[in-house]
Structures are given as C-alpha cells and as structure tokens.
C-alpha cells in the first residue's frame, strides 16, 4: 500500500517566506534606508524642494562643504578626541579586564556593574555633574575633562568585545601556561594575551571610534564653541545651509557605515560579538 501526500508539510512550508514576513521586512528595510538614501541624494541634488525627483545633480556642495571654515579643524578635533579616547581606553581597560579575569575574579561582578552604570546616566546629566565639580579647576572646560567624560561614556563599548575575547581564549590557562614557562604576568599579557584577543581589541576600538566620532552632547555641553568637532559643525550647518549639512551628514554616515562594516567583518573572522550593548544617544 502506498500513500502519497503532497500537501505541504511543515518542512516544506519553512522554505517559502510568507506574505506577512515580506511585508514586515520590506517595511523595515524601507524605514531604515529611506532617510539615509534621501540624504545621500539630497547632498548631490541641485535642488530638491519643489519636485519628487531632484532637478539635477552636482558635487558642488561637497566642494563647499570641504571649503567651509572649520571643516578641517573640526575633522581634526574629532579625530584627536576619538583617537585619544581610544588610547586612554585601551591603556586602562585591557589591563583591568585582564587582571580581574585572571587574578581577581571576585571583582568581576563589580566590574560588570561599573560597566553597565554609564547606560543609566544620561549624557546631559554626566555633563552637568562634571561641569559643576570641575568648574574653576585647571581641567574645568578643558579637553582633558572631555576625554575623561567621553571615556566613561564609551567604556562599555570597549569592555564587551575585550571581555568576550578574553573568555573565549581562556586567559587563565594561557597565563598559567606562560608563567610555567618563566614569563612574568606583564610579559604574558603583552606577548600572549594581547596578540590573541586583538580581534576584540580592534572591534572595541572601532566601536569607541564610531561612538566618539559622532559624539555631540558631551562636547557641546562641556566645551561648547571652544572645541568644535565634526558633529557640532554639522548641527550648526543644519541651521545655515541644508545642502552642505546634507554633505556633512553623508560624510558622517559613511564613516559610521565603514566602522560598522569593519566591526562586522572582524566579528565574522574572529569571535568577538559586536554591539549588543545598550547605548545612549
């Protein structure tokens, strides 16, 4: 006796996306891409406020944008801020996380709490607190204070990937192996641990870079006009010239895309998971 059943079974149904799925995902893609796409087009459109499609295309606004006063200064300031934050972050976070993992596991829960706390502090509140305390001191309203603030704000982004990477290599066993061969803890960290967790280090650094490069709140409220970074310039131009602001936005988006794609690429190669951490805007 043979029975042939050709009605779709559960396994067959799985192979075909269903209408509700297509609708939801199409909506999602539309929502995520429309603003960005429009900004890219707007930045190269001669005029796009009277018609559905741009009236013409030009790269004039990029020229104007790069010619704008403060353009290079602000890019330079943003770079200085992000790179010095990354540096401070690396110097402080890597040894701390390593030390806690290998020598002080008791402190692990404390470190975890400390790393989630910045998410519970709105950036404006952090800015207010810092300005209040340090006003009148030598570091009040100085880039040092800003770097300190940005470090606190961005440290969870450095912490997650490095902590994950340390977990995945079993740092304790490696350290014990290194020490049994005669290396000091410092030597083990520099020669064994860091080379093995570098995908995590790169991911963390890129995340901090993307976060700090786009940082607006702390910079504006702590230093204001004294230290004009790229996001500050962008906001200024949204009120002066829309086309140039669009060109700035495109530059900003592109940097963020590149950083994210690099992180994803590294994440796929190594094992450090990327964001997954909560963040404040």
């Amino acid at each position: 006796m043979k029975i042939n059943r050709k009605s779709p079974t559960a396994a067959q149904k799985k192979n075909r996306p269903q209408v509700w799925q297509i609708i939801l995902i199409a909506f999602f893609i539309f929502y995520m891409f429309l603003p960005i796409l429009s900004t890219y087009i707007f930045s190269i459109a001669t005029r796009w406020d009277r018609t559905i499609f741009p009236e013409g295309f030009t790269f004039e606004f990029y020229k104007e944008a790069t010619d704008a006063s403060y353009f290079t200064t602000s890019l330079r300031n943003s770079l200085i801020l992000s790179l010095s934050t990354i540096l401070v972050s690396l110097i402080i976070i890597i040894p701390t996380v390593y030390w806690v993992n290998v020598r002080l596991p008791k402190a692990k829960s404390i470190l975890d709490i400390l790393m989630i706390l910045p998410f519970g502090i709105p950036t404006v509140v952090l800015a207010l607190a810092l300005v209040q305390v340090y006003n009148g001191t030598p570091i009040g309203r100085s880039p040092v204070l800003l770097i300190g603030a940005v470090f606190i704000y961005s440290m969870p982004f450095m912490y997650r990937p490095i902590s994950n990477a340390l977990h995945s290599i079993d740092a304790l066993t490696l350290t014990e192996a290194g020490q049994s061969l005669g290396a000091s803890t410092l030597q083990v960290m520099l020669k064994v641990i860091i080379p093995n967790i570098y995908p995590g280090i790169i991911s963390g650094s890129l995340l901090v870079f993307a976060t700090v490069f786009a940082e607006f709140t702390l910079t504006k409220l702590i230093l204001g006009a004294r230290f004009k970074t790229f996001p500050l310039l962008l906001v200024e131009y949204t009120r002066i010239n829309g086309n140039i602001a669009a060109a700035f936005s495109v530059i900003s988006f592109t940097i963020a895309w590149l950083a994210s794609l690099l992180i994803l690429w590294i994440g796929k190669k190594g094992q450090g998971s990327s964001t997954q951490a909560p963040h404040a805007h």
Binding site: M1, K2, I3, N4, R5, T9
Partner: protein, 354 residues
C-alpha cells in the same frame, strides 16, 4: 497482537533516504529500543511515530487506528527528549500538569495525578522548584513524569540519557525500566549506546543507513548477529577476511580457519569470519590440535578493562584481540609469543558483499 505497527515506512530528506522501508510490529507493554549510530534513521522513525515528521510512504497504526497523518497533539503519546525540554517558566508541578490541563482534566484529578507520577520518579519534594534548580538527572526524571502524567498510549524516549554523566545514566536507565514494566506501557527507546539498549529492552531494533539490520531480543542480537554490521556494532568482533575453501573451511591470507558447515556458501565466495574476543583462549605454550583453530602471535598491547584484560596480539599483518581473566593475564607480558585458539563452532561466517 501488535499494538503499534509501522508498515513500509519511507522518509527522505532532500536526497538522503533517512528511513527506508521500515516495517515493525511492537507488542503492547513491551520496551523496544532502536539502536544504531547517529544518522541511522532511528530518531526520524521515532519522530514519525510521534507525528513530528510525516512518512513519505507507508502507514503507522496504533491500537488498530491509522495515525499516519494524525497531528502530534491528537495522538495520545508521551515523549521524553534528549535534554532541556522542561518548560523553564513553569515549576515542576506546572510542567507535569501541563498535558492534563490541555486535556481539561478536573483540578482535583490533576493534583492527584501529579503527586502520583512524582512519587513514581521519587522526586516528591521538588514539586515547587523550577527546572534550572534541578540537576540534569532530576530534570530527565521530571520529563519522564511529565510524559507519563497524561497516561499516554505509547511512551517515546529520544536518547533520554545521552546528556547525563555515566553514573546517573546507569541509575536512571534502571529506573526507566522499572517504571515501564510497573505500568506495562508500550515504549520505544532510541539510543546509540548498545549497553543501554541491551540492558533494558525486551526487543532491540538495530538500524543502519535507514534500514533495519536485525530485530531480536538482546541475547539474540549479541549471540546471533545476522549481519556484519550488527556483529561489529554490538560488542567487539575480530574479523578475518577470506574465501570459502572447503565445506567447513575459510582460507584467509596465510591462515586457514575451520568453521561449522558452510552449506549456505559456494566455494571461493568472499566471506568474513567473525570471532568475539571473549571466545578466544590464550595459551602460553602451543595447545594440542583439538583446541580448534590455533594462531601464533606476539602480544602487542595489554589493557586492563576491569573484569577482563584485553590482549592485542599481532599475527601476520593482522591484529587480533582476546579477552582473558585478570588472573590469567598475570602470566602474560608484552612481546611474548602466545597461541590463540578458538573452536570452529564460535566462528560466525558472513558473505562480504552484502
């Protein structure tokens, strides 16, 4: 009278034939194991009985009712999974009560039955706990209780012990067998562990590549394997490849093995002679000819296995293993020359091209 009947069941995934022409009758109240290596189709067959997969061809009957296309929630079947199948958001009591609740059993009755099955698996005091507060062994016992609470017509167990520690595994399989025979519930037990299958089953179904290799009691499966796969998968067997030389003789390379009468084979046919290691005697001096087949070799390895000691003996390009008692192993040392002997009656001869 068969209670659960599978008739010519076929199942294909993509272009892999997972189950090929599976026909089996299971009697009421019996515990039947499906045994085989991973990917042999045992789990797929179980899942077809449960209704999670549907056969491409063939029928499944339970108590004279065709359930081939009945959906899983209408089949009255209890299932225990490999691990982690307890609902983490529910307490032990709620987990066990779930099936009864689905059947709209009255509250009082539910309470009574939950207590009953908890008693059965001897975990009465865990009723209020949550799965993550239990050990792996306890979780599986609760999973068993949960499957039994609805008094299913058939109990299906899918490698229920494979995620547990060795010690717990042995204790729990005894427990499963005890409960199964107390309730006389028809049970299908899937495992890749031969010891497990042999120790608890009424019947064992050995499978390979989606095909039933042999069905029999544990004793039959071990003592009288019908295929080379069964003989080597269940327990250990020495294999001597050769050709049929005479009416009770196989010619292997540089060695002639006497066997029982080879009436089923033709002269020159390629065969394999299988001999279990515990049926081989080890002699430190050459034994007399009535010991049967005698092979001279050099002891290469001596491994202690607890109850027995296993010798690995090298004889012209082949390694033969033999199990001896611990006492007799004391007189044997590495690189010593020994004579292995086994009677023609213990040789199992099978054709090679199956």
């Amino acid at each position: 009278m068969a209670y659960l009947e599978l008739k010519n069941v076929h199942k294909t995934f993509g272009n892999v034939k997972a189950v090929n022409d599976f026909t089996l009758d299971i009697n009421k109240g019996k515990l039947v194991s499906f045994l085989g290596p991973s990917g042999c189709g045992k789990t797929t067959t179980l899942r077809m009985i449960a209704g999670f997969e549907q056969p491409d061809e063939g029928t499944i009957q339970l108590d004279n009712e065709d359930i081939t296309i009945v959906s899983p929630n209408q089949r009255d079947i209890g299932m225990v999974f490999q691990a982690y199948a307890l609902f983490p958001n529910m307490s032990v009591r709620q987990n066990i009560a779930f099936g009864l609740k689905m059947k709209k059993t009255p509250k009082v009755e539910i309470e009574k039955r939950v207590d009953e099955v908890l008693e059965m698996v001897r975990l009465k005091d865990t009723a209020k706990r949550y799965p993550h507060q239990l050990s792996g062994g306890q979780q599986q016992r609760i999973a068993l209780a949960r499957a039994l609470a609805v008094r299913p017509r058939v109990l299906l167990l899918d490698e229920p012990l494979s995620a547990l520690d060795a010690e717990v595994r042995v204790a729990l399989r005894g427990e499963i067998r005890r409960i199964q025979s107390d309730l006389a519930i028809t049970t299908v037990y899937v495992t890749h562990d031969q010891e497990e299958a042999l120790s608890i089953s009424d019947q064992v179904v050995v499978m390979e590549n989606g095909v039933i290799q042999q069905v029999g009691t544990p004793q039959e499966i071990y003592r009288a394997p019908q295929t080379r796969f069964v003989a080597t998968f269940i327990g250990t067997a020495n294999q001597f490849f050769g050709k049929v030389g005479g009416e009770s003789e196989v010619q292997c390379s540089g060695l002639s093995i006497s066997t029982r009468k080879l009436s089923d084979f033709t002269k020159g046919q390629e065969v394999v002679v299988l001999v279990r290691p515990e049926l081989i005697s080890v002699n430190t001096s050459q034994p007399s000819a009535d010991a049967g087949n005698i092979i001279e070799g050099i002891v290469e390895t001596v491994t202690f296995h607890g109850a027995v000691t296993r010798l690995g003996v090298h004889m012209n390009q082949q390694r033969v293993v033999a199990d001896i008692t611990v006492n007799s192993a004391e007189s044997i040392s590495l690189n010593q020359t020994v004579w292995l002997s086994f009677k023609p009656e213990v040789c199992k001869v099978m054709a090679v091209a199956e």
